[in-house]
């Protein structure tokens, strides 16, 4: 294997090995991408390289919601059409992308950057819970929607946030959990089925 890699130049094999570390990219795809870039114009390859280094040097976390931002505030927080009194709490910045893609939520977000995982030693001080509480104390918040993942860690986080926020007199809701679109009932697990029944709605 090493012998084979030696037949291509060190710089190409370095690119292949870096690309294959990316999620969803196996060694074959990495090779294809590397040879594509080798043939691409200097400008095209340069743009890609520049875009990659820019996400590390130019981005930071939004000072309000801890989403990824280019400036002090992320696009959502700096928008004038969003309702700042409704906060949707998510685990990761990419969850915002998914929700924004749907395009029906008009409030703002708060990114925790993780979920409580006791046996991994991830507790309240390792994710951005304090920041959320401060935000609620200092602003006119009417509703907090908890949109953590429907996993044991996500649920633990949701239950803890509910315990913390609800005594502050704020309406706390949880994203409805039901059957995923395109799946079959017989394969659903008990927790999902139970929640889907509890959260049933009129037509």
């Amino acid at each position: 294997m090493n012998q084979k890699h030696k037949t291509i130049t060190d710089s190409v094999s370095r690119l292949i090995s870096e690309l294959s570390k990316l999620p969803g990219i196996g060694p074959k795809s990495a090779q294809r991408l590397a040879y594509y870039l080798l043939r691409a114009s200097e400008e095209e390859a340069g743009n890609l390289a520049e875009a990659i280094s820019a996400i590390k040097t130019n981005t930071r976390l939004c000072s309000v919601c801890y989403n990824i931002a280019d400036d002090q505030k992320c696009p959502v927080c700096s928008s004038t059409t969003r309702e700042p009194g409704i906060i949707c709490v998510v685990e990761q910045p990419q969850d915002i992308l998914a929700l924004e893609h749907v395009g029906i939520f008009e409030g703002v977000y708060h990114v925790l950057h993780g979920a409580i995982a006791p046996s991994d030693g991830i507790g309240i001080n390792n994710i951005r819970i304090k920041e959320l509480i401060k935000r609620i104390e200092n602003g006119k918040i009417s509703e907090v929607i908890i949109a953590t993942n429907p996993t044991t860690e996500g649920e633990t986080t949701a239950l803890y946030l509910y315990r913390l926020i609800s005594p502050m007199g704020i309406h706390v809701t949880r994203l409805a959990r039901g059957l995923p679109f395109g799946t079959e009932l017989e394969y659903a697990d008990d927790v999902t089925l139970c929640r889907a029944l509890e959260g049933r709605q009129d037509f």
Binding site: S119, G121, T151, T152, E153, E155, T156, T183, D190, V191
Partner: protein, 252 residues
């Protein structure tokens, strides 16, 4: 290539770790294979038929295919997901603590028939989700786990001079794995005092069944005493902290 050999087992999911984007390495505790690690492919995709059946603390029937390094989970069906447990922060947290304890006290791929420990875990989760006194559940589980793992403390005679213990304040000493009498206690540097009632409950929980143990509603000082003793003993055995303890303390 020959067909992979498949096998089925009951299991409780005690740990989940990321493997790339959507795959997970799942740690299963099983009655007859002991602790197993297996890969679950694409479990976090919404259409995965496995996902909910492989959530932490789920008690499921799992089908695995043998692999070169790790086996792969190819099917799973929930036996009990302990529904009430999932709606209560304290009980979920207790459950996660039990799972971590089992993970820390067992070795991987030991292929050990340890159905006693397996059903202890399942029954404790069940009783917790039925609303049993969580202190009694946890202390009984810990004491029985120590028993199963081969760390049963000596509670009848002084583990230094071997004379029967008197109903006075004695000392629990992790290094000797038992109680030492007041006359011998000066010899040990790391030790913790244990009250007469503390010792009584400890002895009872070593030898009684779960229903008997849960009839005793452990509260207040007595629970705090036993919790502290057992935690120190576990720390001595494992030589590391039990991470979920921090979280349990947080919720108090």
């Amino acid at each position: 290539m020959s067909c992979p050999r498949e096998y089925q087992t009951e299991a409780v999911i005690i740990r989940k770790m990321r493997l790339g984007e959507a795959d997970r390495i799942i740690t299963l505790y099983t009655p007859f294979y002991g602790k197993l690690q297996a890969v679950a492919k694409a479990v976090c995709k919404p259409k995965s038929k496995l996902s909910g059946h492989l959530e932490l603390l789920a008690y499921s029937q799992v089908t695995l295919a043998r692999g070169k390094k790790l086996d792969t989970i190819i099917g799973s069906q929930t036996i009990n997901s302990f529904l009430p447990l999932r709606k209560d922060l304290n009980i979920t947290s207790c459950g996660l603590y039990l799972a971590e304890l089992v993970n820390l006290f067992t070795a991987e791929a030991d292929n050990i028939d340890n159905h006693h420990l397996f059903y202890l875990l399942v029954n404790t989760l069940e009783r917790l989700s039925q609303g049993a006194n969580s202190h009694s559940c946890l202390r009984y589980f810990e004491i029985q786990l120590l028993e199963q793992a081969g760390y049963r403390p000596q509670l009848k005679v002084c583990s230094s001079c071997h004379t029967p213990l008197k109903p006075v304040i004695n000392t629990f000493c992790p290094a000797t794995g038992g109680i030492i009498c007041p006359r011998c206690s000066f010899k040990e540097t790391v030790s913790y005092s244990i009250s007469v009632n503390g010792l009584k409950v400890f002895r009872l929980f070593q030898d009684c069944d779960m229903s008997t143990a849960l009839r005793l509603k452990l509260t207040g000082e007595l629970n705090t005493e036993l919790e502290g003793l057992i935690r120190n003993y576990c720390y001595y055995i494992l030589e590391r902290e039990i991470k979920s303890c921090v979280w349990l303390d947080n919720l108090k």
